[in-house]
Symmetry: C2
Subunit: 498 residues, 2 copies
């Protein structure tokens, strides 16, 4: 095959993979937003067939031959094509290493596990979920061997979510954080908590919807390319860099819930919308890793969104939209309320300071489960013990304990650390950004354009063109978790007068 | 290949065709409802690729071999499978008779033509659209030869939309209608028109949305399987018999517009939701023909929705929802206003009486275009002449003339007659229904369940299991357009005191 012909075939393959992804996304989006309630079955049939077709296409021997041929001629390819081929070869190798029957069996297992987990959580019944979790763990240990037999199984899984990251790296990372954060939490615990009761005042849906529109405007999200929908669990979904959707969930008794969810998902959307045109419709379109993606969402949500200058900038508009709810509240009071640090049970509701400890519990449990030193039956007990040890809280039931997250039911082991890494990357990005320019002057005027531009240049535009580690290096320099610890220390010392 | 293996392959093929259709529908639904404004390009890429994949799958030689093999063994198949194979073979033959390069070229042409038609209509510039229409006509003449070289080209096209229908059939049908309807229109024209000015009173969106919900309830549309969305042009979209969506367009200055659009699309939805489970995920799922589909939508819209008993039944609720707009209006006045018959320019806004004449103009033009006796350049002149002749109105511009409909830009020649046929089928169904049971007693109490049940049993449940002509025969008996003419005569004589 001539190089030109091979490149044409590559482009065709990439377009097809994009189209299958787009179909999957459209069906998912519909299913979680406007679809009638009792329509999951037919959608499931379509999604299953499309996943099968995509798998058949991508794992076909001709795909392997094409990618090998292009890899042999990589010296003749430009950087973009070379990188495309490299990434596709990696995915191809991974996919074809899993025997087709195991792949199908696993797909059915995660499908069933999702349902069972839902019920188990609702009914607070770990035993219901246990046999499925056992199978999921066993599959993941086996798959880890397919991914990279030279690595310890959990390292192989971690590498799938954040390439280059392993237990050695994370052990050090979390040790640093724990060493610095735990004393901080103790110190905060001895101080008086700010009053945040006004956050629970009733805020009508319509005003909250207008507030979302305003927040998207402040974030600089172009509505011609990004809309907001409403779902039970908020998410960001990208079709391409011209078409991204975010969703939120409104709670009329909790203004801050949707507010920070919009800013968080808005951060993900900024990333996807900022990726360069050159990589669109290829395997390099889309954010480079979960950790880097979370760095962007949590950057906007916490480093910007929970900063005093930002809150001061948007507070006049907030008081206009919520005159009865916030008429007697100052920006500073609001700032203190949304930064209240307190050990709690639920990860997704945790504050910036205690959040990483929630992640650490999951990391420890995954490490032992996949490493074979913890049995699934002992997960609840270990979970509860670690929550007591790390956060000092008693877990009253598994619903608010080890059944709270959906990740494991979907087969995601090794994903959680990305959340903590993202937070730490973000803090270091902020430090570098502050070195490069005046961050807080414009933010205090509600102008986020310079922040956006910095992130676009340092992170967003590359998409998958660089390795995750190189994107991190590009924006953070040498990764140093003490920068994040310093940030937390500074912020919470000021907040609580430590 | 064993029969069992062949049947398994058939089921797999059918599921894949279903999945591609579902993907297409989800992307279309998204694109017309919630998608951000400037996102058509990426969706176009995905839709193009998926259409190509579907075409590749369906036109593959193995598909032909499989269908031939099953057809040889048709005596061993049950009725459902035999019918599936018959329908698939027909589609396969049709698809594979069109050379792949012409198929692709035509797909690109209709895509471009859609855009150009939009602009041409906006700018009232037929010359802009003319070269595309010329190509579309030429393609359709050529395709007609592929479909059935033994037929006149326009007959071959008509057969695609309503199998068994040809020019001979339609000439008689339309002649009967014209003979009866034209004198009626003249007679009505000499009478005083009812006052319908209250229909233009401002009706807020929110109340209209509630009214839609109420109408769906009256129609017996289960919201767990059917939702309503908002789009520029209303449509019905079916994923399967458990998942159907309708859309409407609200005009705050025209209450009846969305009202009758909801009832019309609701009729389409009733059909799709009433199809039996056995044919789901096969080529027999979905309404059997355009004519039969329109018979259902127009049955609900006109025969029921524009009847006095129905309007009397829902009027109390309407006055509750629109107290200021309808407080001084009676059900009878409303009935007269929404049945005002008056020759006009726009087909989609035409009343029940004059509607078929709009269709006849299009039928005559298509017949001559595809028959080669009318040149595209002469379409506007012919259009305007026929409107004057049939409806007695002067067409002021092509925007309100031959550029008003999208059908030709999408390559649909032979579709229009379905609208008129559907109206005529419906009238005959009503006559038979009245013979079988008390229709108007329950309808006057807002109870449409018996009507629904009758239609489900006589029309809906079969899906594509029967030929269109057999469905018509099943519900109408021997087709007789004078029944429709009688209906119109009775209705409008009473309304206008003829």
């Amino acid at each position: 095959m001539e190089l030109n012909e091979a490149l044409a075939k590559l482009a065709e393959l990439e377009k097809k993979l994009y189209a299958y992804q787009a179909a999957d996304s459209a069906l998912y989006l519909d299913g979680t937003t406007v679809a009638p309630k009792d329509t999951a079955q037919g959608r499931g049939v379509a999604l299953g067939v499309l996943a099968g077709e995509r798998h058949r296409l991508f794992s076909a021997p001709e795909t392997g031959t094409l990618l090998d041929l292009l890899w042999e001629k990589r010296e003749e390819l430009d950087q973009l094509r070379r990188r495309e081929v490299e990434e596709l070869r990696r995915s191809y190798a991974q996919l074809t290493r899993i025997p087709a029957d195991e792949y199908m069996e696993y797909a059915m297992l995660t499908n069933e596990a999702g349902d069972v987990w839902h019920r188990a959580k609702e009914q607070d019944d770990f035993q219901l979920f246990r046999p499925l979790l056992e199978k999921l763990v066993a599959f993941n240990i086996k798959f880890a061997g397919y991914y990279d037999p030279s690595k310890a199984p959990y390292d192989a899984l971690l590498n799938e979510y954040e390439r280059g990251v392993d237990m050695e790296y994370l052990d050090k990372f979390f040790a640093t954080l724990r060493e610095r954060i735990v004393p901080l939490i103790h110190a905060v615990g001895e101080k008086e908590q700010p009053d945040g009761s006004f956050l629970e005042r009733h805020c009508p849906l319509e005003a909250q919807r207008k507030f979302s529109d305003y927040l998207m405007e402040v974030l600089g999200l172009d509505r011609a390319h990004c809309t907001i929908g409403e779902t039970e669990h908020p998410y960001t979904l990208e079709f391409n860099n011209k078409d991204v959707r975010i969703t939120t969930h409104y709670d009329e008794g909790n203004l801050a819930s949707s507010m920070y969810s919009v800013i968080h998902e808005g951060g993900h959307a900024k990333y996807e919308l900022g990726i360069c045109d050159e990589v669109q419709y290829t395997s390099l379109a889309g954010g480079v890793s979960m950790g880097v993606h979370e760095s962007q969402s949590r950057f906007y949500e916490n480093l910007i969104g929970r900063s005093l200058p930002f809150i001061q900038a948007i507070f006049p508009k907030m008081r206009e939209l919520f005159p009865e709810q916030l008429g007697d509240v100052t920006a500073e009071q609001f700032y203190r309320a949304v930064n209240k640090a307190q050990p709690s049970l639920i990860r997704t509701e945790a504050d910036e300071l205690t959040y990483c400890l929630h992640v650490m519990v999951r990391y420890e449990i995954e490490k032992r489960l996949i490493g074979g030193t913890l049995k699934v039956k002992d997960v609840p007990e270990t979970w509860n013990r670690l929550y007591k040890e790390y956060l000092g809280v008693d877990v009253p039931d598994d619903r608010r304990g080890c059944l709270q997250d959906s990740h494991w039911s979907g087969g995601a082991f090794g994903y959680f650390p990305s959340y903590a890494l993202g937070s730490a990357y973000g803090a270091q990005m902020l430090k570098n950004m502050e070195g490069d320019m005046d961050v807080w002057g414009p933010v205090s005027r509600g102008d986020l354009s310079a922040v956006s531009e910095w992130l676009r240049e340092k992170v967003h535009k590359f998409g998958g063109l660089l390795e995750p580690a190189d994107v991190v290096k590009n924006a953070c320099g040498v990764f140093d978790p003490t920068v994040f610890a310093d940030y937390l220390e500074r912020k919470y010392s000021a907040l609580y007068g430590l």
